[in-house]
């Protein structure tokens, strides 16, 4: 059946009865989703604006370099404490999480992998308050309110993150690369370490950075473990430590404009660090994709 040139022109140019209705529906949909998108972004912009505006007056040198009980109080001990707690958490949970991910990806049998992945999923879903209550009821009675208890609680949250990210980036390493190594007579463990892990290293490190970022913002487990202190604590994990999320929590409820302002300022610092890490990670992944 052939269509004459005349009727093709008709099909293309003559509007049909439903066409106007269709265009109206199109426009309505556009407007609805557009408004929804704006509604979604609005609170975020408001949040950033509020934090920046409220924090700005309190961002003075003494805020960064003094401790809470100094005449011009600051949060130096919380910055120092947060970096120590998250740093040690990553140092301890990093090797465990990475090794676990390597095991699941390179050594485990399919059945073990299935079980392991389920366990990781469950652990990833553990609310931070649960890790906190575990540390509070089990570890604090033994260790006291301390950096150690905080590091343990944070590690419960970061180990599965690193395990999952390590396993996932190792899965992206082509099997052909492993086979090339095995076929050269390289033992399995060396293939895993010097070929698979080496190839996936940038991705594995990205997972470590994201875990660091997660631990840095965690609040609940810290309130129940490190608890906060006004003293500056360098490397003594056996006693209480201050941390930025603790400061935000405690100062926000204080009856003092200065402390409330410092809560905003501390929030801004956390936000800037988290944002910087995100941008860095994004840059890394984009670079490795184009390289």
């Amino acid at each position: 059946m052939s269509i004459s040139a005349d009727s093709i022109a008709k099909v293309l140019t003559q509007p049909t009865s439903g066409e106007h209705a269709r265009q109206r529906v199109n426009w309505t949909m556009r407007i609805i989703v557009g408004v929804a998108a704006i509604l979604a972004i609005l609170p975020l912009i408001a949040l950033i604006l509020f934090v920046v505006l409220k924090a700005a007056p309190y961002l003075v040198p003494s805020f960064f370099f003094n401790n809470p009980l100094d005449t011009e109080p600051g949060i130096l001990n919380a910055i120092v404490g947060s970096l120590q707690l998250t740093g040690l958490t990553v140092l301890i949970s990093g090797p465990i999480g990475i090794a676990g991910g390597v095991y699941l990806s390179e050594f485990a049998s399919p059945r073990v992998v299935a079980v392991g992945e389920t366990v990781i999923d469950v652990m990833l879903g553990v609310p931070s308050i649960v890790a906190g209550v575990f540390a509070y009821l089990i570890l604090v009675p033994v260790l006291g309110f301390s950096g150690w208890a905080a590091v343990a609680a944070l590690s419960i949250l970061t180990v599965p993150i690193m395990m999952r990210s390590t396993q996932e980036v190792l899965r992206l390493v082509p099997q052909a690369i492993r086979e090339a190594s095995l076929a050269l007579g390289v033992p399995v463990w060396k293939t895993a370490l010097f070929v698979s892990v080496r190839t996936a290293l940038p991705g594995i490190l990205t997972g470590v950075i994201l875990a660091f970022s997660r631990a840095l913002g965690e609040t609940a487990p810290l309130l129940m473990t490190a608890r906060g202190t006004n003293a500056e604590n360098w490397l003594d994990f056996s006693t209480t430590m201050n941390a930025m999320p603790i400061v935000i929590y405690q100062y926000a409820a204080a009856a003092s404009d200065l402390l409330i302002g410092q809560a905003w300022a501390t929030a801004l610092i956390l936000m800037v660090i988290a944002l910087t890490i995100n941008v860095l990670v994004r840059g890394r992944t984009v670079n490795s994709r184009t390289a």
């Binding site: 076929a183 050269l184 007579g185 033992p187 010097f194 070929v195 190839t199």
Partner: protein
């Protein structure tokens, strides 16, 4: 069988024992491996080899003698188990979950599947080049070539440098890369990458080099270069090559083994013989049909 008559295995009786030691001894030294490869060794004998993926038998009862220092091509229709068979020779087949091998494969009289042969050691003696070039993406050209030596240990740094150059020369790649040894292996063209993989394979001084459709991802010019290289390498190594391309089999190989598939999809050896004979005057009607393009 023709292979028997034309066998040039004139090595002294001691060579056999030496190889047995090289394959079975826990700390085979690079030097003794090098010394042994200068003898006329590399005779591969497959007896009743079957390979399975779980319950599925992909290769059935293959018995095949491969002449040392020659090129043997495995041809046959898709899915007839050629690649599976070649992967049993360097014990790569068993690395897949559920994959098993039965029968025996011996190299100069040593059963590669005997209990005192570590698969890792077997793979040092039997090298392999894959279908798609697979240089290590994180390593430079020279690191790729030396990777096998560095990761298996036992070779000094000063030695490695010489072996890298020598291997690249043998793989006919040296002149193209000598100025840029520090650049990533993946920066090379596909054909160059494949020659890099060949250099990497021969750097660990194997007796046997397996090639699983080494040119299927390459253009005709790169293919020609690899084929010339295969001919050159046959002077030193026993080469077994799987190919889909019958012209390639006729160009590069001394012997050809033709495989087909049974009703139960298990691959089996139809016949084997000198390549010229196989392509002009095959004994089996099935072989003739395949070679003339009537099926496959």
């Amino acid at each position: 069988m023709a292979t028997e008559k034309r066998s040039t295995n004139s090595s002294p009786a001691g060579a056999k024992d030496e190889l047995a030691q090289a394959a079975a001894r826990p700390a085979a030294q690079a030097t003794s491996r090098a010394a042994a490869s200068e003898t006329d060794a590399g005779r591969l004998v497959l007896e009743n080899v079957s390979a399975r993926y779980g319950a599925f038998r992909a290769v059935k009862d293959v018995t095949l003698a491969v002449r040392p220092k020659s090129v043997t091509a495995l041809i046959g229709p898709s899915g007839c188990g050629k690649s599976t068979l070649i992967r049993t020779i360097n014990r790569m087949h068993e690395t897949l979950p559920g994959a098993t091998v039965s029968g025996s494969i011996s190299l100069d009289g040593v059963d590669l599947y005997s209990s005192n042969v570590d698969p890792v050691r077997a793979r040092r003696v039997v090298g392999m080049v894959f279908q798609k070039p697979n240089p290590f993406p994180t390593m430079s050209i020279s690191e790729n070539v030396s990777s096998g030596l560095r990761l298996t240990g036992g070779t000094s740094k000063s030695e490695i440098e010489g072996i890298v150059e020598d291997s690249l020369r043998r793989a006919a790649l040296w002149d193209e890369v000598k100025e840029k040894l520090k650049q990533p292996g993946t920066s090379l063209s596909g054909g160059q990458q494949q020659r890099l993989c060949i250099a990497r394979t021969i750097a660990v001084k194997p007796r046997v080099v397996l090639m699983d459709e080494p040119c299927s991802a390459l253009d005709p010019v790169a293919t020609l270069k690899i084929e010339e290289l295969i001919r050159d390498l046959a002077a030193e190594y026993t080469i077994v090559i799987v190919t889909h391309n019958m012209q390639q089999a006729s160009r590069v190989s001394d012997e050809t083994a033709f495989f087909s598939m049974d009703d139960d999809r298990a691959g089996y050896l139809v016949e084997t013989g000198p390549t010229a004979e196989m392509f002009t005057n095959p004994k089996q009607a099935l072989t003739e049909g395949y070679i003339q393009g009537r099926f496959g």
